[in-house]
């Protein structure tokens, strides 16, 4: 029993192991008899390829845990590649820099402002808790609006001056890495604002952003389907090449970003109040609201993070493919959602985590690698991907067991019970849904 339970709890990792095994066994060999799949170059290539989807999937995980969805990440990423490529390759006030400089300044200003407030809030709160009084924390100057706002304005202004002075030349690596995600963050903030203040459903708000960001990207690029090439050393700084390089000869640079994002946001979900609130809101938004959680702020932040990571993915895309194009991320949102779902995160929210997403992303990456090594048609690959999604989710959600029992002609699940405490517990989301459906069928 215990073995079974451990197996069932870790089935995702077993899936990954099995895929690796299949890859190793089925892999073609080089003329010198070496296994191509297991070769260092192949594995680092896989890591490099999954990193962009992985970054986006990381942000998507937060949003989905919250009970939302972000369809705009692909377009936002595409838009970011345009911004990044133009900043790198075109000096002066291009549409990209006109968008990017204010966005970066505002983001820096708000960021510093909130950070100040947060830090001093934390300092004071720690003191109050020690004193045993948790309620009614008076707001001092650092925690009130004035001083954080002042600091924010100063920092925002500094960023504005610094970036604007760079506009006449081309942007460097650090500047691009900071400025581009800020633009994407702003788009994420618009998503969040539409959902929080406009009370739009996440699907609709981000669908609108998905369409708009694509249009915005094309407008910024200047012509339809424009491809803005970035040749490091000729039309852009040579230093940009660092984003394609290997770190210490082991990890490709994009995967460093991906792994860092997984670790950082994994820690955020696990160890911070923000993470706890994400799970609480995803699990039961009404109960979370009535528990005194500021639901709107958490939602806004999650969509902003999703945008930010999409922007970062955009910069890495430009570095890997040496170009920026508006439709760089077409279909990316669906890949990201698929990876999240394969990782066991429930689309209903409140259940799942980043470890699953990490494995989900790897499963996808390894699978296409194996199929490519076998020279299998790319359309067959798509088909296989679809099957993998269905297969893993069936296993994940324990739907398979239910399906099997139904096929064997056994009784359907009993309807939800409020009084019976003897019955074995099942997650209520599963019980009520299927049972309600069952009862409708029964009544017919």
């Amino acid at each position: 029993m215990i073995v079974l339970r451990i197996l069932s709890r870790t089935k995702l990792y077993w899936g990954l192991a099995i895929i690796c095994l299949i890859g190793a066994l089925a892999s073609p060999h080089t003329s010198s008899g070496r296994n191509i799949f297991l070769s260092f170059n192949n594995l680092t290539d896989v890591l490099r390829q999954v990193s962009i989807t992985g970054l986006v999937a990381t942000g998507m995980t937060l949003v989905i845990l919250l009970g939302g969805i972000d369809l705009s990440v692909g377009s936002v990423m595409g838009f970011s590649t345009i911004i990044c490529a133009m900043l790198l390759s075109q000096p002066g006030w291009t549409p990209a820099s006109i968008v990017a400089v204010p966005a970066a300044s505002i983001a820096a200003g708000l960021g510093v402002g909130f950070l100040t407030r947060f830090v001093f809030h934390g300092l004071a709160r720690g003191r109050d808790v020690d004193a045993g009084r948790r309620n009614e924390i008076a707001s001092g100057p650092w925690r009130s609006i004035r001083i954080p706002a002042l600091l924010g304005l100063v920092c925002g202004g500094a960023v504005a001056v610094a970036t604007a002075s760079q506009v006449s030349t081309k942007f460097g690596v650090v500047a691009v890495l900071l400025v581009t995600p800020c633009v994407a963050l702003a788009l994420g903030a618009i998503n969040g604002a539409l959902i929080v203040a406009g009370r739009l459903q996440p699907f609709i708000a981000t669908l609108a952003m998905m369409v708009s960001a694509l249009g915005l990207g094309r407008l910024t690029a200047g012509q339809d389907n424009a491809v803005i090439a970035v040749y490091t050393g000729t039309n852009a700084t040579q230093a940009f090449e660092v984003l394609r390089s290997m770190v210490w000869g082991i990890l490709p640079m994009p995967s460093v970003f991906f792994l860092a994002a997984i670790l950082i946001f994994g820690a955020v979900l696990r160890f911070t109040t923000f993470g706890r609130y994400i799970y609480a809101i995803g699990g039961n938004p009404e109960a979370a609201k009535l528990s005194g959680i500021k639901v709107a702020e958490v939602q806004l932040a999650a969509y902003m993070i999703s945008g930010l990571l999409a922007g970062l993915a955009g910069v890495l895309f430009v570095a890997q493919y040496r170009q920026g194009k508006p439709d760089a991320g077409s279909g990316l949102e669906l890949d990201a959602i698929a990876a999240v779902v394969i990782g066991g995160t429930s689309l209903m929210g409140g259940r799942g985590g980043l470890a699953g997403t990490f494995v989900g992303v790897l499963i996808f990456g390894l699978l296409s690698d194996i199929l490519q090594l076998q020279n299998i048609d790319s359309n067959v690959q798509l088909l296989m991907k679809g099957l993998i999604i269905v297969g893993t989710v069936l296993v994940q959600e324990q739907n398979l067991g239910q399906l099997l029992t139904r096929w064997r002609g056994q009784a359907p699940l009993p309807p939800p019970t409020r009084t019976g405490s003897v019955e074995a517990y099942r997650p209520p989301s599963v019980v009520t849904k299927s049972a309600a459906r069952e009862d409708i069928h029964e009544a017919s």
Binding site: E136, G283, K289, G292, T419, P427, S429, A443
Partner: protein, 544 residues
């Protein structure tokens, strides 16, 4: 035959208008004795994963009777009802319907045999009309393809009218009140030609008036020969409605007797297995200055017909250690008072709220939490708790921020709080990592209260604190509330149950149609006085 004519005539009416698949042979040949045994269960046992839920239960049901099934949560009454209704199909023992042994393969099978169950959670589709719900999945068709709406409406209207229910069959379920929805469920069960009707806690969400309508229909059905199994936590209604009662305890029947000659106390003792006495708080200490003062609270809500005033000029004070009860009929604005004070009422709110004499603005739960106001909601599953999370996570949730530093959670502090609350409230659980959904109703309620006590509030608002909780656990919750008041908490309780209101309250504020019709002190507060103030059109008194 007199007992069955009504039922038959409903069926004939139905048959004449709608093709229903049912066994026509049953319409004739009913036993002339109105008290014939229609259903008999012998030595029924059921275990869930090694846990015995029912052990050798003998149970019989006669036509035309209302048979109350009582027991604490987990005593096995739900399990028994579900076995009888074909929900649970693997059990030991025998069930006979009119001396024919049956073994249902599912709910549909049971329905074909004339057994219908109405679950506590109603199974209606909110966006369909009452008529469409009644015939859901069995719609009469034109030319075998198109749904015959006219016939559905006609048959449903006829059915509702026969039952003496004044509901427009063409209204959407979402527009109906819970009580009306309940009646639609009954109509649906009867349209299935049910002779045995199992009702699981039908009144748990109904107001007094709605209950009365329901009772009328139930009595009428019984007179027409339908046998009814009825469960409820409210003893008074069981005593008023049932002919016989069976009490289950720990999966075994401990009492089966006609209701005449049984006292409330006897049933409770049978259920709990020990004497239970409901005692009022002895002495009340002298109270200090009000913690919470509410002045001229008004609340307007947007409804389909424009703005509607749901609260008008409500004013009250609560002092530390005091329990203020809010009485009134369902829909009189009781819950809205609590929601307004807690800052989560939907709509336009006006009036003054002061904490410790200082005017405050509470516009969200976060504000209320910061100011030390806590609300334990009425619907603990949907609003109060994360039902599939652990006790630890639930208790700590409102305190996660307070227990954290620089946004990093204080896990140790959270666990400490959860443990503290579990001990203080005597929550029966394996540990703080038990999933809340696996707790009994009473213990879930304790977790819901503990979640707020962990924030060290000064004002505790309780909305229906004992809804859906069995008798033994109720008493514990009462003691708990008294204990909290003794610790100096100012408590406001809203409850639909009159005995509970009288028992708990030091003072009673009575609401009627959104207005405050009076505040009664302990001595003045009697059932009669409260009802007089609560009933619409009867109150001339103005708030003191």
């Amino acid at each position: 035959m007199g007992m069955t004519t009504h039922g038959v005539s409903i069926q004939e009416e139905m048959a004449s208008t709608v093709q229903l698949d049912r066994r026509s042979s049953r319409d004739g040949g009913q036993p002339s004795d109105g008290h014939a045994v229609v259903l008999k269960a012998e030595a029924v046992s059921k275990t869930f994963a090694g846990v015995t839920a029912l052990r050798d239960v003998d149970f019989d049901l006669r036509s035309g009777e209302v048979h109350a099934l009582m027991g604490e949560n987990g005593a096995g009454k739900s399990t028994l009802m579900k076995i009888l209704a074909g929900v649970h199909v693997d059990y030991d023992g025998e069930i006979r319907i009119e001396d024919t042994p049956v073994r249902f393969s599912g709910v549909q099978d049971a329905e074909r045999a004339g057994v219908a169950i109405i679950h506590q959670e109603l199974n209606l589709v909110p966006e369909l009309t009452a008529a469409e719900n009644i015939f859901l999945g069995r719609e009469p068709l034109i030319l075998g393809t198109l749904v015959d709406h006219r016939r559905i409406v006609k048959a449903a209207s006829a059915l509702l009218k026969r039952l003496g229910i004044e509901i427009d069959a063409q209204r959407r379920i979402a527009e109906l009140r819970i009580g009306e929805q309940q009646l639609v469920e009954i109509a649906k069960a009867l349209s299935l030609d049910a002779r045995i009707l199992i009702m699981d806690e039908p009144t748990s969400a109904l107001s007094t008036a709605e209950c009365d309508t329901l009772f009328k229909v139930v009595r009428q059905l019984a007179q027409a020969g339908v046998a009814i199994i009825y469960t409820s936590h409210r003893l008074d209604e069981v005593l008023a409605l049932a002919n016989r009662v069976t009490v289950l305890r720990d999966g075994q029947p401990v009492l089966t007797a006609p209701i005449e000659g049984l006292s409330q106390g006897a049933i409770i003792s049978a259920m709990v297995g020990r004497e239970v006495t409901l005692t009022r708080r002895d002495s009340v200490a002298r109270w200090g200055a009000p913690v919470l003062s509410v002045r001229d609270l008004t609340l307007d809500k947007v409804s389909s017909r424009g703005w509607r005033r749901v609260l008008q000029g409500v004013s009250f004070d609560v002092r530390p250690g005091e329990i203020l009860g809010i009485g009134g009929l369902l829909g009189s604005g009781r819950t809205e008072i609590l929601e307004s004070v807690f800052g989560v009422a939907r709509g336009w709110r006006d009036g003054e709220i002061a904490i410790d004499g200082e005017a405050v603005s509470i516009n969200s739960a976060a504000d209320a939490c910061r100011l030390g106001v806590a609300l334990v909601t009425e619907d603990r599953k949907a609003l109060g708790l994360h039902i599939s999370s652990t006790i630890r996570d639930n208790v700590a949730l409102p305190s996660v921020g307070a227990a954290s530093r620089f946004g990093v959670r204080g896990f140790a502090r959270e666990a400490e709080l959860a443990t503290e609350m579990v001990e203080k409230l005597a929550v029966r659980c394996y540990g703080i990592d038990q999933i809340v959904a696996t707790l009994s109703g009473g213990n879930q309620q304790k977790v819901a209260i503990g979640k707020w006590l962990a924030t060290a509030p000064r004002v505790l608002l309780l909305d229906e604190p004992t809804r859906g909780i069995d008798v033994g656990a109720k008493q514990e919750i009462y003691q708990l509330i008294f204990g909290l008041a003794a610790e100096g908490l100012a408590i406001v309780v809203v409850t639909s149950e009159m005995p509970e209101l009288l028992l708990l309250s030091d003072r009673v504020l009575v609401m009627c149609e959104g207005r405050q019709t009076g505040v009664l002190s302990g001595a003045e507060a009697t059932q009669e006085a409260i009802m007089r103030l609560a009933a619409p059109g009867m109150s001339e008194r103005v708030a003191p």
